[in-house]
C-alpha cells in the first residue's frame, strides 16, 4: 500500500505531468459536455493561435525558432519556466494528495520544489554561457561531436518521448472528464494544436503560450484559494480544526504519516526529482532563450518564486477541500460521503472550484487545466524537434554544413513528426497503466542527461569514452530497474513481488552512471582524451565569464 501510494503520488505530482495513476484511470468516465469550459478553452485557443501567427512573422532564423533569438527577458522566462513546472498534475495531484493524506502531501510538495534553488546555484549560468540551442551543445562542447551529440540527442528524445506519452494519455483522460469529449478526439486535438504552435511559432509562440497559461493558473489558483479560505474567515486555526474534524484520519493529517516511512524510497524519489528536473531537455532549453547569464539567473529567481507561491496555494486548497468537498454528498458517487469521489481521486480541486465558485469557475479551471497540458506538450515537442534538426541533422549528419533554411525545414518536419507520433502513442497507450513512464522519464533524465551535463561542465577529466560508457550504464540501469520495480514488475507484468523494491531507480542508476563515467574517463589514455582535457580551459573560461557565449539577436 505504501509503495503503491508512493508510485501514485510520484506519478501524479511530478513536474509537467498529467494524470497517470491507476486510480485516475479507473475513475474516468465520460462526463456530459461542459459548454462553459469549452467556450473558455476556445477563447484561449484563439488567443494563442493569434500569438502563433504574430510569432511566425518574427521567426526567421533557426535561433528565433529554437530560442526566440535569446530575446526573452528574465521575468518572462521565469513565468515560462514556472509554467513548464506547474502542470495540470501539480494542481490536481498535489491537492488530491493533501486532501487524502494531509501533511504527507506537504512533504512531497517541498521535494518537488527544492531542486530549483540548486539549479540556480550550480547550473543556470553555466547552462546559459555554454549552450546555444540544445543540451547536446553543452555535452558535446569539447567531446566527440558525432558520438556524444548523437548520444545526448537520443537521451533528450527518449525523455521527450516517455514524457509525451504521459502527457497525452493524461490529456485524453482529463479532457474526457472535464469537457465530455471523446478520449481519442481529445488526444488528436492536443496533438494538432501542439503541432501548429511549434511548427509555425517556434520558441516565441511556445514561450507565450506558456506565459499566458502560467498567469491563468496562478490567477485561477489564487482566486480559488481566497474564495475557499474566506469560508474559514482566513484563519488557519479555524481551517485546520475543521479539517481535522472532517477527515477520517482526524488529527493524524497534521503530522508525517506512512508515506515517508521508508528513507531509501524517500531519498531515491528526491534524487529523481532534484536531478531529473535538471536533466529535462525542455527545461534546459528555456535557459537559452534569455540574452545572458544575468537574465538566466533572474529567470530562476522569478520561476522559483512563482512555483513556491503556487505550491503553498495548492496546500491550502487541499486542506480546504477536506472540509468543503469531503463533507458534501453532492461530490460523491451515490451521495455517499467518504465513498468514491465523482470523477476519481484527482478531482478534489475541481469539486472545490464548483463548490465555492459555481459552474462558471469550474469551467474556467477546466479550461486552464487543458491549456496547461497544451503548453507543456508544446515545450516538449520543441525540445524534441531541436534534438532531431539541430543535433542529429545539422551537426551529425550534415557536419555543420546545413544552411539555416535546410535546418528550419527539417525542424518543421520533425515537429509534425513528433506531433503525429505523440497522437499515435497517446491512442496506443489509452487505458494502459503508465505510472512507470514517470519513473522512467525522471530516471533517464537523472541518470543519462544529468551526469554528462554536470561532468562536462565541472570536470576537466571527462572524456568521450567515459561519457559514452557512463551514459549507457545510466540508461541500461535506469530502464532495467524500472522494469524490475513494482510499477512494472507487479502492476504491469502481474508478478507477486518486485525484484527491485523502489519505484525510482535514480539512487542506484545515477550513482552507477557517475562511477562508470569516472572510471571510463580516468582509464582513457588516448590522444583524444588528452585533447579533450586541454580544451577544458577554454570551456571553463567561457562558462565562468560568458566570453564568446551566443548573445541576443536584435529584431
Amino acid at each position: 500500500m505504501k509503495r503503491s501510494l508512493l508510485a501514485l503520488s510520484a506519478g501524479l505530482l511530478v513536474a509537467g505531468l498529467a494524470i497517470a495513476a491507476p486510480g485516475a484511470i479507473e475513475g474516468v468516465q465520460k462526463q456530459p459536455i461542459n459548454v462553459s469550459a469549452i467556450a473558455m478553452f476556445m477563447v484561449f485557443v484563439l488567443a494563442t493561435l493569434g500569438i502563433t501567427k504574430w510569432a511566425a512573422g518574427r521567426t526567421k532564423s533557426t535561433a528565433d525558432f529554437y530560442t526566440a533569438g535569446g530575446g526573452i527577458t528574465g521575468f518572462q522566462n521565469g513565468l515560462a519556466i514556472a509554467g513548464d513546472y506547474m502542470s495540470a498534475a501539480t494542481l490536481l495531484g498535489l491537492t488530491s494528495l493533501v486532501y487524502a493524506k494531509g501533511f504527507d502531501g506537504f512533504i512531497y510538495t517541498v521535494s518537488f520544489f527544492i531542486g530549483w534553488p540548486i539549479i540556480l546555484f550550480l547550473l543556470a549560468e553555466r547552462l546559459r554561457n555554454l549552450g546555444k540551442f540544445t543540451f547536446a551543445d553543452i555535452a558535446s562542447y569539447r567531446l566527440d561531436q558525432s558520438r556524444i551529440r548523437t548520444f545526448a540527442a537520443f537521451g533528450s528524445l527518449t525523455v521527450v518521448c516517455f514524457y509525451l506519452i504521459v502527457q497525452m494519455v493524461g490529456a485524453g483522460q482529463l479532457i474526457q472528464l472535464l469537457f465530455g469529449l471523446e478520449y481519442n478526439m481529445a488526444v488528436v486535438c492536443v496533438g494538432i494544436l501542439m503541432m501548429v504552435y511549434v511548427t509555425f511559432g517556434g520558441m516565441v509562440a511556445t514561450t507565450w503560450v506558456q506565459i499566458i497559461k502560467a498567469c491563468l493558473l496562478l490567477g485561477g489558483g489564487t482566486v480559488l484559494m481566497l474564495l475557499a479560505f474566506s469560508q474559514f474567515g482566513f484563519s488557519f486555526d479555524n481551517l485546520f480544526s475543521q479539517a481535522i474534524a472532517a477527515h477520517k484520519s482526524g488529527i493524524k493529517i497534521m503530522a508525517p504519516g506512512s508515506l515517508m516511512a521508508d528513507p531509501v524510497s524517500a531519498v531515491s524519489l528526491s534524487f529523481a526529482l532534484l536531478f531529473g528536473t535538471a536533466g529535462l531537455p525542455h527545461i534546459m532549453m528555456r535557459f537559452f532563450t534569455v540574452p545572458n547569464a544575468k537574465e538566466a539567473r533572474k529567470s530562476v529567481f522569478y520561476a522559483t518564486g512563482f512555483i513556491g507561491f503556487f505550491f503553498l496555494v495548492v496546500i491550502i486548497l487541499g486542506i480546504a477541500a477536506i472540509v468543503i468537498v469531503g463533507q458534501n454528498p453532492a461530490f460523491f458517487e451515490g451521495g455517499q460521503v467518504g465513498g468514491k469521489l465523482i470523477g476519481g481521486g484527482n478531482m478534489p480541486v475541481m469539486h472545490l472550484a464548483k463548490a465555492v465558485g459555481g459552474d462558471i469557475f469550474l469551467g474556467f479551471l477546466s479550461a486552464v487545466a487543458f491549456a496547461t497540458i497544451l503548453a507543456v506538450v508544446s515545450g516538449l515537442a520543441l525540445a524534441g524537434a531541436s534534438a532531431i534538426a539541430h543535433d542529429l541533422y545539422a551537426r551529425v549528419i550534415k557536419k555543420g554544413e546545413a544552411t539555416s533554411a535546410q535546418e528550419m525545414k527539417v525542424t518543421k518536419i520533425a515537429s509534425v513528426g513528433i506531433g503525429l507520433t505523440a497522437i499515435a502513442l497517446g491512442i496506443l497507450f489509452k487505458d494502459q497503466n503508465i505510472a512507470f513512464l514517470v519513473a522512467l522519464t525522471f530516471g533517464v533524465a537523472a541518470s543519462v542527461n544529468f551526469p554528462v551535463l554536470v561532468l562536462s561542465m565541472y570536470w576537466k577529466g571527462l572524456t568521450t569514452r567515459g561519457a559514452l560508457l557512463g551514459g549507457i550504464a545510466g540508461l541500461v540501469s535506469a530502464v532495467g530497474l524500472v522494469i524490475l520495480s513494482p510499477a512494472v514488475w507487479v502492476k504491469v507484468l502481474g508478478n507477486a513481488q518486485a525484484i527491485f523494491p523502489y519505484d525510482h531507480p535514480a539512487i542506484i542508476s545515477m550513482t552507477l552512471a557517475f562511477v562508470v563515467t569516472w572510471l571510463g574517463s580516468i582509464t582513457d589514455k588516448s590522444s583524444r582524451a588528452a585533447k579533450e582535457a586541454a580544451a577544458y580551459e577554454e570551456q571553463y573560461i567561457r562558462a565562468q565569464t560568458g566570453l564568446g557565449a551566443a548573445g541576443a539577436h536584435a529584431h
Binding site: 510538495t109 517541498v110 488557519f236 503530522a255
Partner: protein
C-alpha cells in the same frame, strides 16, 4: 588579438581567480543551506515523525511541521534572491572588468 591571448589574459588576471573562488564558494554554501535542512527534514519525517507532530502552541491544532515545511519553500526562494543579488551585482561587475581588461 587571438582567442588564446584573451584566454591567457583572463587566466592570469587575479580578479578572475577571485571572482571564480568567491562565486563558487558562495554557490556551494547556499546549496548546503538549502540541502542540509531539507534532508534533515526528510530524515526526521522518516525516523522521528513525532517531532514534527508537536503542537505549535498550547491547545492549538497547528503542528510545528507545517511552518517548517513552509519555511523550506519560502526560504529556498529567498536564498535564490540572495544569490542573484550578489551574482548579478558584485560578481558580474568583476566579470565585466575582467572581460574589458582582457580585450585591451
Amino acid at each position: 588579438m587571438t582567442q588564446e591571448n584573451i584566454h591567457a589574459k583572463i587566466r592570469s588576471n587575479p580578479k578572475f581567480a577571485e571572482m571564480v573562488d568567491k562565486r563558487t564558494r558562495f554557490a556551494i554554501i547556499l546549496s548546503l543551506v538549502v540541502l542540509v535542512p531539507y534532508y534533515t527534514f526528510m530524515m526526521i519525517t522518516a525516523f522521528n515523525p513525532g517531532l514534527l507532530a508537536l503542537p505549535l502552541s498550547e491547545g492549538g491544532v497547528l503542528t510545528v511541521g507545517w511552518p517548517i515545511a513552509a519555511v523550506l519553500v519560502v526560504g529556498g526562494w529567498l536564498l535564490t534572491g540572495v544569490y542573484i543579488r550578489r551574482a548579478n551585482g558584485e560578481f558580474d561587475d568583476l566579470n565585466q572588468q575582467i572581460l574589458q581588461e582582457a580585450r585591451k
